[in-house]
């Protein structure tokens, strides 16, 4: 009886429309991962394990009450900054960038923590500042946002830096950052593009150039984009069929279980499959925005709103990259790509959203 009540209590903190959409994504990802891994069962089991682990975390986080989330916002942020500084000083260099911190028992990538830490911190701040916002509040928030972004960008990991910047920016956006300030930044950003270009690393410049003309280096920088465009394009309207994708099965497509999983999907399931997938992502995002709009207080609104838009950003950046309209940035496709960390972060995010939705009666503005 007690167990039954306990289960009811736990499951009461889940949002079933969102969960159903996430399950659909997971189901699709099982199919496409099986195909992309050349029908490898061990790979599929690993992927399932990752999903199960992330799911458990989602359920746990969904049952954490918002005041607790508010309470940990500052410690998480500070810990994240400390770890990022630690990375900058003592981090392991992998593939030419310093991203990993060896803590003795495990290696962690502190930038991943900040994907959640930054929105958590900023949402809590704006919540505490209340409804009377002065320019200095935005300035402080902006400063707290730029600090981790700069640390991550220095690693260098421009992709993750931009994602962290985006998730923090969304908080400011929802908190009411004036339009003219935003437009001002957009104009200033465009104007300073040549300057940014000047400070970019060669490999980053190369990626931009490759986006504009993949044919300039077909076996080098352009190879990924050319092969994924071929994979998607050759899928046509109906796709080649499950397990029939030649680009992935014959290894022409690089990273086909991770960053380029969408190309496998597009090749095997065609335009119709891609529309279905994007529709599911859209439904998740709209459901998330709806939850945010109906949230009882500013913290819940800002946090859930920014997490949802961060999710959108992952999807957009990944599919945009794979289909050749955005530069190659190492961003996995949420829920579809193989890899435990990214999936766990995304699922914790949805856990937070569910918590914020289902604990509405317990907190007061």
């Amino acid at each position: 009886m007690l167990i039954k009540r306990r289960i009811a209590q736990i499951s009461g903190h889940l949002d079933y429309p969102l969960l159903a959409l996430l399950f659909t994504l997971m189901l699709l990802s099982l199919f496409v991962q099986y195909s992309a891994s050349n029908e490898s069962m061990p790979h599929l089991l690993m992927h399932s394990g990752n999903m199960l682990f992330a799911l458990v975390l989602l359920v746990i986080v969904a049952n954490v009450s918002p005041p607790y989330l508010m309470a940990i916002a500052l410690p998480v942020y500070v810990a994240g900054i400390v770890l990022l500084v630690g990375v900058a000083l003592f981090g392991d260099v992998v593939n030419g960038s310093r991203r990993w911190l060896n803590l003795g028992i495990m290696r962690i990538q502190p930038s991943e923590i900040m994907k959640l830490g930054v929105p958590l911190m900023l949402a809590w701040l704006f919540h505490t500042w209340g409804s009377t916002l002065k320019p200095r509040h935005y300035a402080i928030a902006g400063g707290l946002l730029l600090l981790p972004v700069a640390l991550v960008a220095r690693q260098p990991d421009l992709g993750t830096a931009l994602l962290i910047a985006a998730s923090g920016f969304y908080v400011l956006f929802f908190a009411g950052l004036p339009w003219k300030v935003m437009f001002g930044f957009i104009l200033a950003g465009s104007a300073s593009a040549p300057l940014v270009w000047h400070f970019m690393h060669d490999y980053q410049k190369k990626r931009i150039l490759t986006l504009l003309d993949p044919g300039r280096d077909p076996l080098g920088a352009g190879y990924h984009i050319i092969q994924s465009s071929i994979a998607i394009g050759s899928g046509g309207v109906f796709g080649k069929g499950w397990l029939q994708g030649t680009q992935s099965h014959l290894d022409f497509l690089p990273e086909h279980t991770t960053d380029f999983i969408f190309a496998v999907f597009g090749e095997e399931f065609g335009l119709l499959g891609a529309i279905l997938l994007i529709a599911i992502y859209l439904a998740i995002i709209l459901r998330g925005l709806s939850i945010a709009a109906h949230a009882p207080n500013q913290f819940a609104r800002l946090l859930s709103g920014s997490l949802v838009l961060a999710f959108f950003t992952y999807v957009m950046v990944n599919i945009g990259m794979v289909s050749g309209i955005l530069p190659v940035v190492g961003v996995p496709l949420p829920m579809m790509s193989y890899g435990g960390t990214a999936m766990t972060i995304v699922m914790i995010g949805f856990g937070i959203i569910m918590s914020l939705k289902t604990h509405r009666t317990l907190i007061k503005s």
Partner: protein, 635 residues
């Protein structure tokens, strides 16, 4: 806007958020619309393009080389064929350090320094990311060892390939020629002719001889395998297969046994022999001595082998039968006599008194006969039998060089025969017009006189001489020398015989011809210059001996072979056909520095004819028949 920064209520805050959430939703919708537009562009608008690219990625057409046609002699003896063997091949583009890889391989299979040298030579010449052979003819054990270690040798492959082989080795090498690796020049040539597609899957092409001139028949058409490959280029499965069409087989007129007998008969001598069937123009034997082994060239000749062949003073690579021209010497005399009859300058019975020399009126210069005291009274018959020089000095003087030229060119002198072998030279049949082309000096009568005994400007290849002899034998049909008797279509087995090619019919009245043939028969009989060579032959032979001077002698100098450098000795020349009344074979023989035609070149012709007409094989114990002509006592 400003109001938002000032005091706001919960509801204001909420409505502000809702407004921004709507903006976010619209932006998300827009962004996804852009994604969809991109996907529609890729998957509908440019579907055909990307579909083709994906198929090109996936499918590789692997050419399958055809079997090259085999070459047989007239009895079906194989002269050139193919055998399958394993080769060790490297793809330089996939190997970081070639020397290390080769060192590793050397622990598994035997790799000689020559193998390495050849490999790096090929590497310099190679034009794309092709595989290059390191070693041929791996044994089964070697194949197994390489296969077992393949995982640690990327870019190393064992391939089964067809190899060309010439089982008779040096025999008829000049006639067969050889195949070799295609050079960049070959490829450019094929591309310009639009035939390069036909060479996919192989890298060999006929370089010389029949292998070169019958390349198109021998080559065949490549087939193809449609193979699905992965990104590393490994074949995953075969999707479709088209069989190659083997090249046509060639049956030659050549008789390999006769060829062997003739070559053996030359012994250590340099020279050439051509034996024709006067009825068809078929080449029964074509010898050029010394020879070389065409097998050396098939997989790229080793530098040291090449140097020894190419730098040899004996020039073994030159096909003397058609690329070297010599003075005919006295073998021109039967044709000169015919010219005299034809132009009405001589009758068979016209007789001269031979004092042993010819002299222009009012000149003291003597054109000497080989017999210092002369031959006495000489008519046309006797002039051939004893090879009287004085008779032909007179005849040449009476005919004049231009009439000689016009008549002799009927027999093909001075013109290429048109044989299907490259590099043939035309030789020289002099005339006033010919001399005017390179000299300001007029034609001198003395030049005509020595041309009359085949010692002037005249130069003739052994092949031309054989062709002219065959025309005399068959009654006046000048036939183009033919190499190939029958072409066998490998697909249908259909045999196509090649018809004789009559270049022209010479105006040769039978009674005039008979005078000459009778005289040539007596050349091989007692009193003739070739009596020793054909003593006891059970068939009648019409022949003429000749000696081609290599160096001129001063006025009163006597030729004495034993006092001369070996390579200044006269060339021995010999022409013959038999049986005289129904000729089946016509032969021209030239032995360089052999001395007298009857003794040095005649026995070679005898060996060939004995075999051809009697089926007689030479006695294995006897030494080769040719001996140095150290006695130039009869010409």
């Amino acid at each position: 806007m400003k109001s938002r920064i000032s005091i706001r209520t919960y509801h204001e805050e909420l409505s502000g958020f809702t407004q921004r959430a709507w903006v976010a939703a619209i932006l998300v919708g827009l962004a996804f619309t852009i994604l969809l537009a991109r996907l529609v562009y890729l998957q509908i608008w440019r579907y055909d393009y990307f579909h083709t690219l994906a198929e090109n990625n996936r499918i590789t057409v692997v050419p399958v080389a055809p079997n090259r046609g085999i070459i047989l002699d007239s009895h079906g003896d194989v002269l050139a064929h193919n055998y399958a063997a394993y080769t060790l091949e490297l793809t330089p583009g996939k190997i970081h350090d070639l020397n290390t890889t080769i060192d590793q391989l050397a622990t598994l299979v035997e790799i000689s320094p020559a193998n390495r040298r050849n490999f790096f030579k090929l590497l310099q010449q190679s034009h794309n990311f092709e595989t290059l052979p390191l070693r041929n003819r791996l044994t089964d054990a070697e194949v197994a060892r390489v296969a077992a270690n393949r995982y640690r040798l990327p870019g190393v492959e064992v391939k089964a390939r067809l190899f060309r082989q010439y089982p008779h080795q040096t025999e008829a090498a000049h006639l067969l020629g050889y195949i070799g690796r295609m050079s960049d020049a070959d490829i450019r040539q094929l591309e310009s002719e639009g035939r390069y597609d036909n060479y996919r899957g192989t890298d060999h092409i006929g370089k010389t001889g029949i292998e070169q001139s019958f390349e198109n028949q021998l080559r065949g058409t490549p087939g193809s395998d449609l193979v699905e490959t992965d990104a590393q280029g490994h074949a995953v499965r075969t999707l479709a297969h088209r069989d190659p069409v083997s090249g046509d087989d060639l049956v030659l007129w050549l008789d390999a046994r006769m060829q062997a007998i003739a070559e053996q008969a030359f012994g250590d001598h340099k020279g050439a022999l051509v034996a024709l069937d006067p009825r068809t123009g078929g080449i029964l034997a074509l010898v050029s001595m010394p020879e070389f082994d065409p097998n050396l060239f098939v997989d790229g000749i080793d530098t040291s082998d090449w140097d020894s062949l190419n730098n040899s003073p004996d020039h073994p690579l030159i096909n003397r039968a058609l690329r070297a021209a010599y003075p005919e010497g006295s073998t021109i005399k039967p044709f000169m006599a015919l010219a005299g009859l034809h132009d009405g300058v001589r009758t068979p019975t016209d007789t001269i008194a031979d004092p042993g020399y010819f002299r222009f009126p009012g000149s003291s210069h003597r054109y000497r006969d080989w017999a210092p005291n002369g031959h006495g009274m000489v008519d046309m018959h006797r002039s051939i039998v004893v090879s009287c020089d004085t008779y032909y000095y007179h005849l040449a003087n009476d005919l004049g060089i231009d009439r000689m030229h016009d008549y002799l060119s009927q027999f093909g002198f001075g013109h290429k025969t048109g044989i299907d072998l490259s590099g043939e030279v035309a030789g020289v049949l002099p005339s006033r017009a010919w001399k005017a082309r390179f000299s300001k000096q007029p034609w001198f009568p003395g030049e005509t006189v020595i041309c009359g005994i085949g010692q002037g400007y005249n130069l003739t290849t052994p092949l031309q001489l054989a062709m002219a002899t065959a025309a005399l034998a068959n009654g006046g049909k000048l036939l183009r020398p033919e190499l190939v008797k029958t072409v066998i279509d490998s697909a249908t087995g259909k045999r196509t015989s090649i018809a004789p090619d009559v270049i022209r019919t010479i105006d040769l009245p039978p009674e005039q011809r008979q005078v000459i043939v009778d005289a040539m028969i007596d050349v091989t009989r007692p009193g003739g210059t070739a009596v020793s060579a054909f003593a006891g032959a059970p068939y009648t032979v019409a022949a003429k001996t000749g000696t081609a001077q290599v160096v001129g002698l001063r006025q009163n100098e006597k030729y004495n072979a034993s006092h001369m450098e070996a390579d200044h000795r006269d060339h021995a020349v010999f022409i013959a056909f038999a049986p005289a009344d129904n000729p089946k074979i016509a032969v021209a023989v030239l032995v360089e520095n052999g001395g007298h035609g009857g003794t040095a070149a005649g026995p070679i012709a005898r060996a060939v004819m004995d075999y051809y007409l009697l089926g007689k094989l030479p006695k294995p114990a006897t030494t080769p028949a040719a001996t140095t002509g150290n006695t130039a006592n009869a010409d």
